[in-house]
Each structure stands twice: as structure tokens, then as C-alpha cells.
Symmetry: none
Subunit: 215 residues, 4 copies
């Protein structure tokens, strides 16, 4: 039931296939690296220019401001990539009635963990931004909910009707699923650790969640 991790593909697509010149791509890459390593505020545009092997002026040609660079990195991950994928797989799931709830949980965990590991750099930046501004977290939550709520609702309903899912309100269920998976992902990202046994971890968390959420 594993699906190819389209997230990275989509992100890379938005970088590679864009109309950006090689230099601009280099700027974006350097920013991603440095923002992730040292944080947005502690990264200077001169650092970026140096790492990207371009002039300081070039950094500003495409991305008008330093914040523009941040958005260029974060926006695809937030506004497009995440919900799009989510949408895709939920839709897919909804059309497949037979899927066992535990399998779904495992698949979900696996999918999100893969995404996290493959996009650690961006996620580190995202987490820093979330920690900094009130707005970001709310906006992120709203975006996500707005695009998934309906589908997730339907899906959970199905599992509840199936007798595979406890009769708790949807947000409560979502919260437990999300936080349990986060419990595996966050330490990996925050420790800049690249070793996560996704197969076992997703199996484990699915087992726990299944026990906690079955009627």
C-alpha cells in the first residue's frame, strides 16, 4: 500500500522545473541549507551569496527580499505540496472501502514519516517559523484543516460505521493520530538525525493507535 513519496518530487519540481536560472536555483539551495542549519535570522544574505557562489545582487534579483527567499522555500511545502498530497491520498483511500483501519494507520504513518525524513531541511525551517510567529501555526492549521477536514471526516465516519473506530469527535481522533506520529518525527528532525526505521516505527505507532482508537 506504499505510495511513492510525491512530496519531494513536487517540491523539487517547483524548484528544478521552474523558470529559475541555474544561479537562482543555487541561491534557493543555499538558502535551504543555511536556513535549516542556522535559522533564518542568523543567516545573512551574504552567507547565502557565498555558498551559492553568486553575487549579493543576484540573491535579490529574483527574490526581492530575504523574506521572499523564505517564502519561496516554505510556500510550496505549505500551500501546495502538503495539502495536495494529503488530498490525493485521502481521495484514493475513500474510493477503497476495504482498507483495514490499522493498515490505514500504518500507511499514514509511513507516508508522513517518509515525507518528514525526505524534507527534513524544509521542516526544520518550518518549525522555526511556527515557533516564532503566532500566525504561522494558525494559518498552517487552517490551511490543512480547510483542505482535509471534509475528506478526513468522511473517512473516519466510514471506519466508525465499520465498527473499527471509536465514536469520538473527529478533532480528538485526529489529534491523537497526529501527535503519536509526531512523537516519532519531531525527535528525528530536531536532532538532525537521519536514521529512522520507518517500517518498524510505522508498524509500532499503528499498533498503539489502533489499540487506543478501536471501540
Amino acid at each position: 500500500m506504499t505510495t511513492p513519496n510525491k512530496v519531494t518530487d513536487l517540491f523539487n519540481q517547483s524548484v528544478d522545473d521552474s523558470d529559475l536560472s541555474a544561479k537562482q536555483k543555487s541561491v534557493l539551495q543555499a538558502s535551504l541549507t543555511l536556513f535549516s542549519e542556522k535559522g533564518f535570522d542568523r543567516t545573512s544574505t551574504s552567507d547565502i551569496a557565498k555558498l551559492a557562489n553568486v553575487s549579493e545582487g543576484t540573491v535579490y534579483k529574483q527574490f526581492k527580499t530575504k523574506e521572499g527567499l523564505l517564502h519561496a522555500i516554505l510556500t510550496p511545502a505549505i500551500q501546495q505540496v502538503v495539502p495536495k498530497i494529503a488530498n490525493d491520498f485521502l481521495t484514493e483511500l475513500l474510493q477503497n472501502n476495504n482498507t483495514d483501519f490499522k493498515d490505514f494507520l500504518k500507511w499514514l504513518a509511513q507516508d508522513r514519516m517518509t515525507f518528514a525524513v525526505e524534507n527534513q531541511a524544509q521542516l526544520r525551517i518550518l518549525i522555526q517559523e511556527i515557533a516564532r510567529s503566532d500566525g504561522m501555526f494558525k494559518r498552517l492549521g487552517d490551511t490543512f484543516m480547510g483542505k482535509i477536514a471534509v475528506h478526513a471526516n468522511t473517512l473516519f465516519q466510514k471506519y466508525q460505521d465499520n465498527g473499527q473506530l471509536i465514536q469520538w469527535p473527529m478533532p480528538r481522533i485526529a489529534r491523537y493520530i497526529a501527535s503519536a506520529i509526531m512523537g516519532y518525527i519531531l525527535p528525528v528532525i530536531l536532532r538532525n538525525d537521519h536514521n529512522l526505521d520507518i517500517a518498524q516505527s510505522s508498524e509500532e505507532v499503528a499498533e498503539f493507535l489502533y489499540r487506543g482508537l478501536k471501540p
Copy 2:
């Protein structure tokens, strides 16, 4: 089974009862507010001086550097308050054999949620620092584990012997408990939200965890 939240007391003690002058306390308060609101890097020492109604020189008299201020705010929360409390209550629990596992979970959730709500500002800053530097998360984890691992181990063992707790390795159990509680705390802190129904939330999360972790 609720214990008074000693955390805030201890923290405030270290601020109020210290040998700091009124101006220095004011500096600390202003830093706490601004670091929490805008983040460490985006807060200038001039901002702090203005809010604290002191001169810039005063900011540096006691806390030699800006980072010194950060440490003055964070250290009590990290090095002393958190582990001490944890230690206290765990010792207490160990001496009380009769406590039901679910009650323990509820108590734990309640205790940590209260702590979180009462120390939102510091925790926002802490989260920002965690997100910024690899080191912080690791150090935090090590400190915490070093001080609690033994007691928690014994406690969980007891519940496992009781037949109230599934036979999973301790870290796995701890991870689920921590992340489920975090699932309530983090949104509150990151949204700068002051409304958390601790009574109900702790009841809820204890219920879920109990279901997921009973044999």
C-alpha cells in the same frame, strides 16, 4: 491526587527572591515578554531597555550579554524546575503503590498541562531555541532522561507487574505518553492561547492513553 504546581513557584522564586534589583527584575520580565513574543533574534537589547524602562547599560550590568539574558530565563526552567518536579512526583508515586494507572496518567497530564499553561512564555522561548540548535534538544533530552529514567523505569515496571501496563519497552511507552500530552500542550503554546480546559483535557488524554497502553 492533584499536587500544587510547584513549577511556577520555583521559577518565580528564582526571579523575585533573587538578589536582583527592581530594575534587573524589570529587565528579566521585559526579556521574557519580548523573547516570547518576537523571538530572541528579533528582540534588540534596545527594545528590552525601552520596555523595562531602564538604560541599555543596565541591561548589560547584570546579564553580561544578550545570551546571558536568555540563559537567565531558560536555565531555571530547564536545569532545575522541570527535572526537580518530575523527580519529586515520581518519588511520591513510587511510595504509593495503590495508585491506579489511569489515575496516574490523568495526574501526569494535569500536572504537565498546568505547568505548560503557567509557563507559556518561557516554553515558547524554549521551543524556539530547540528549533534553532541541534544541541539544545539533545541536551534537554539527556538532562531529562538522566534524572527521570530510573524512577520512571521502576514505576512502569510496577504497573507492568500489576497487569495495568502493556509489556513494551520503557522508551516506547514514554514516547506515547509524552506525545499525547504534547498534542494538547503544543497547540496552546504555539497559538499563544490561554484557554485550555485542563480538567477535561487530562481526563480525555488519560482515557486514550489508558486504552492504548493497557495489556
Copy 3:
């Protein structure tokens, strides 16, 4: 027997013909003026920027630190210009066996006095630095000795063999020559006086030294 004073030429070359922009040259000029007038420590980078008619940032673009500016001014005088010239003229002298010792003394005095008068600003700064740090004086002496000792030794030997120079050890002879010339140069530099009758002064000092150093 007068040689053109190549010192200033060389120094100016390193300033004017360098790859420095007009603004950077202006920064160097302003620094030279201010360091010489008020001393390194009492000259602020803002003063320099104002006098040079550039922004403060410009001061730091080329010369990474304030000390960098000092080095940019002093290094050519110390490391290259002085010994190089000294070397040049000594070599020249060595090839001219017939020169009378008194003529040599006069020529030397003239040459050094001209150098001093034409490089008063740099020398004022150099003297200030010598007065400030132990290291500078030693380093300067070592550099100078390392490059000249051999040639001077040979030269003095020749005059001693000629019967024109007393049989004292070389350092003692050098000390008297140097200090007598310094006796004319230092007051001029320290008083920021631009009137030194080099012709007469060199004649005078040569006469005195000749009397004191003939066998």
C-alpha cells in the same frame, strides 16, 4: 650622491595603483590623516567615514576591521618599503668602494631625513604603535636587522679596514648613528613640524658622527 626618495613612491604606488576604488583610497587617506592626528584609539570609524565622505559600511567593505585599516597603512611602511629601500641603497654603496665614510654618513642622514619628512604621517602612527605594544618594537627591530645586518656589517668592515671607522662592534656603531639621526628626526615628527633643513642637518650630524667614530 643623493638618490631619489623611492620610499614615498613605493608607498603611494601601493595606495594609488592598487585595485582599490576611489572611495577606498579616500578611506585610507582619511585614516592616515586621523590616526596621525588623533591616534588610533581616539579615531572612530565614524570619523573616518565622515572625513572620507563615505558611509560607515564602506569603511568595512575592504578593511574588515579598524585594525585592518591600521595594518593597511603600516604594513607597506614596515614590511616592504623600509627594508627594501635600505637594502637597495646599501647594496649600491657596497659596489662603490671609493665612498668616503663621512660622505656615507651625510648621505645616510639625508636619505633618512627625507624619508621621515615625506612620511611624517605614517611615522607618527608607527611611533604611537611602538609606544603602545611591546611586540611592535621588537618585531620592527628584528625585521630591520634581519634584512640589513649582513650588508651593514660588510660595509662597516670595509670602513674599518680603510682606517676610517673605529674598531667598535657593529651594534654599538649602528646605535650611535641611528640615535644621532633620530635626534633630528624625532623632534620634527613629534612636533608635526615640516621645516627641517635637511641639507644642513645632515651635514651637521655627519660631522659629529665622523668625529665620534673615526679611529
Copy 4:
């Protein structure tokens, strides 16, 4: 013909026997040490307070400003001590017709070298100040000349009449004597070297000067 070095005595007198409290003397000592080691500008009043083991306020009680401290250290050396001694011994000499010129030179060298070695710290500071401001050198020269010129003139006249001293104008003679002795003193002070063989050095320089200045 050696006289006890009254210089240091006089200076110490002005420090020790003054109406200064122990703390104030400590401040003066600390300033002397630090000004000499790091220079006036690079010594902070807080450094002085720390080394003197007093509060910052105390530094300002007696010596209203930082410059006041500098003057308290330099003034005795400049305005009183130096010329007073010179005056004393010159008067003495004038009354003693028989003294040989070479002996006088030797005595003078010895006296000044002893003074220099015993007052290195103050002289380092003095040299730094001379190097910094035009005024200082001129003032120093004027003070010195104003107090000694007459006596020295008479003395030299005597030696010239004796047939022991060449018929050059007084300033020229003084210049050679001063710079030759300086040729021994300056390197010692600037290198912070405490080893000067005064007996031999004064013998040496007297020999040279005698040769250079005899008719």
C-alpha cells in the same frame, strides 16, 4: 660622582606622603600599571577599579576624571621631578670647576639611565602621550629648556672655555648628548626590558660623546 637617584624618591614622596588614603594610592598604583601596560585609551576605569580593589565611584572621588588620573601620574614626572633634579645637579656642577667633561658625560648618562630604569612605567606612559599629542612634546621641551637652558649654557661655556668642548651652539651639543643617551634608554623602555648594564653603557656613551664633542 654618583648621586643617589632622587627622582624616584621624589616621585614616591608625592604619592606616598600625599594626603591620599590607602585606597586612593591603590587607585594610582593600578592606573600606573595599567596605563603603562595597555596604554591610556585601552585602560578602562572599571579595569582600574578592579585591580585597585575599590569601587568605580572611588576612582572618581579624588581624580575627577580619567584624564585627572593621567595627570596625577605624569605631572610629578614632568613638571617637578625631572627639571628639579637636573637643576640640582647642574647647580652643583657649576660650583665645582674641576670636573672633567668626560666624567660629567658619564655621570649624566648614568643618572638618566638610572632614572629611566627606575621609572620605566611612567616613562612608557609619557612616551605614549608624547606620541599622541603635538602639545605634550612641545610643552615638555619648553618646560625642560626653560628650567635648564641657563644653567646648561653656563656649564657648556665653562667646558668650552676649558678647551674640553667644541665651539658648537648649545642646542646642537645638547641634541647629541640627549640622543646618544636616548639611544640606550629608549630600546630598554620600549622593549619593557629591565636589564641595562648602566655602568658599562654610561662608560660607552660617554666615550663616544667625548670623542665627538672634544674640540
